[in-house]
Symmetry: C2
Subunit: 237 residues, 2 copies
């Protein structure tokens, strides 16, 4: 089985290809404001490097968020288009789950954190002691201080913080959790689409693949445009 | 600080670039028999994707093995050449250490395994509970059954097996260790040069960088050519 997966939820886009349970090509590239121009050429280049074509791919996989609205939308649309054209199914996965999976078999709970701007983080808390993480706090968007209260209520043990949100809020996390806060080495701070491939394979084994039209983003909060529209058109009490 | 690192010890070459403790580009490509033709264009492409040039790089880093003789030799020579031309220092790291670091903060010991052909593996055993692994069995080359004896003598606890050698010898490992053997999800089975960047940064912090001529491969065993030479010219007893 051959799987193509992408994650465009952060400014570092990740693309990976597997053949028969082996990663054969993987790429992490900075895509600030250039995602739409770069994602298709990058997919073509990776396929060529693995001596594959789009027609060889059995499942088209994308992160469905949370993360950058434009990034996630672009990633999902790209995979929907490719899957539809090739007549193949899709699978979606949470960028936070993929990020937490950088700490597979971990004894401490893992808290993936992506900076959501507006003084908030996209966050979750996972038990990663088995290959597929189990959520202790589901994917959410909230101020980091509120998240740290929830984590403190859940556990008195060490927690691994990973992702760009862990870098942004390093001092606050240390202040609140002291030496119970473990910070990921910086090579682990991005969601890897190679982990998305593992999740897609798991979905395939359970017969839980999607039609292209069923692959939809999960944003967790309204977009700036929607919030502005609501503000502009709402009637004051 | 900007760091360029490569790992060419297996048939999946890994290249990564960091800027100020952040990975800005990373690539994993299959290089069966095409390494020398592909490594420089791939480095140029990654540098361009991160809007950097060779002159921006402060440290040139390569895996020094163990692994493919030709691969390691090619990777080391490439980094020596670039560092010499740019007047910058080098750092080297073990491919097995980088592979073990895929399980940072792990409570079980980690056994990185690369298939060394001739019914042997390149192997080590690391305590990865801290960000920089401590060896329990140093990098070595040996038959997998002998390694498993050594591991059993060291610990009665679970051990994580990672790398293409863990895939090759899955059945033997399971037979000997039963459910104490944990196998890495397949997205973790390659040494990542991004982990080599962490090790190089650690070397830089300790003032332990190398002159280009000091960056040398560690092969662990003689090459086929050397073994053949010894066999051909040795005088029988």
């Amino acid at each position: 089985m051959k799987i193509l997966a992408i994650d465009t939820s952060t400014s570092l886009a990740s693309i990976a290809i597997s053949t028969d349970r082996q990663i054969v090509a993987e790429s992490l590239i900075s895509t600030n404001r250039t995602l739409s121009a770069r994602i298709i050429p990058e997919i073509e280049r990776l396929l060529a490097s693995a001596s594959l074509t789009l027609q060889d791919i059995d499942i088209f996989v994308s992160s469905i968020g949370p993360g950058s609205f434009t990034g996630v939308r672009g990633g999902v649309a790209t995979m929907q288009g490719l899957a539809l054209a090739c007549g193949k199914p899709c699978a979606g996965y949470s960028s936070l789950t993929a990020l937490a999976m950088n700490f597979s078999f971990s004894t401490p709970l893992v808290c993936p954190l992506l900076d959501a701007r507006k003084s908030e983080v996209y966050a979750a808390l996972y038990d990663c002691s088995t290959p597929f993480p189990s959520p202790r706090i589901n994917d959410c968007v909230l101020p980091p201080a509120v998240l740290l209260d929830q984590i403190t209520a859940q556990t008195g043990n060490p927690v691994i913080f990973v992702g760009d949100g862990a870098v942004c809020y390093h001092d606050l996390i240390t202040e609140r959790l002291g030496d119970r806060a473990l910070f990921a080495p910086f090579s682990f701070n991005s969601p890897r689409s190679a982990n998305g491939i593992l999740l897609a394979q798991h979905s395939a084994n359970r017969g839980a693949l999607l039609e292209p039209r069923e692959l939809l983003p999960i944003y967790l909060r309204a977009s700036d445009a929607e919030m502005l529209k609501q503000k502009t058109f709402s009637v004051p009490d």
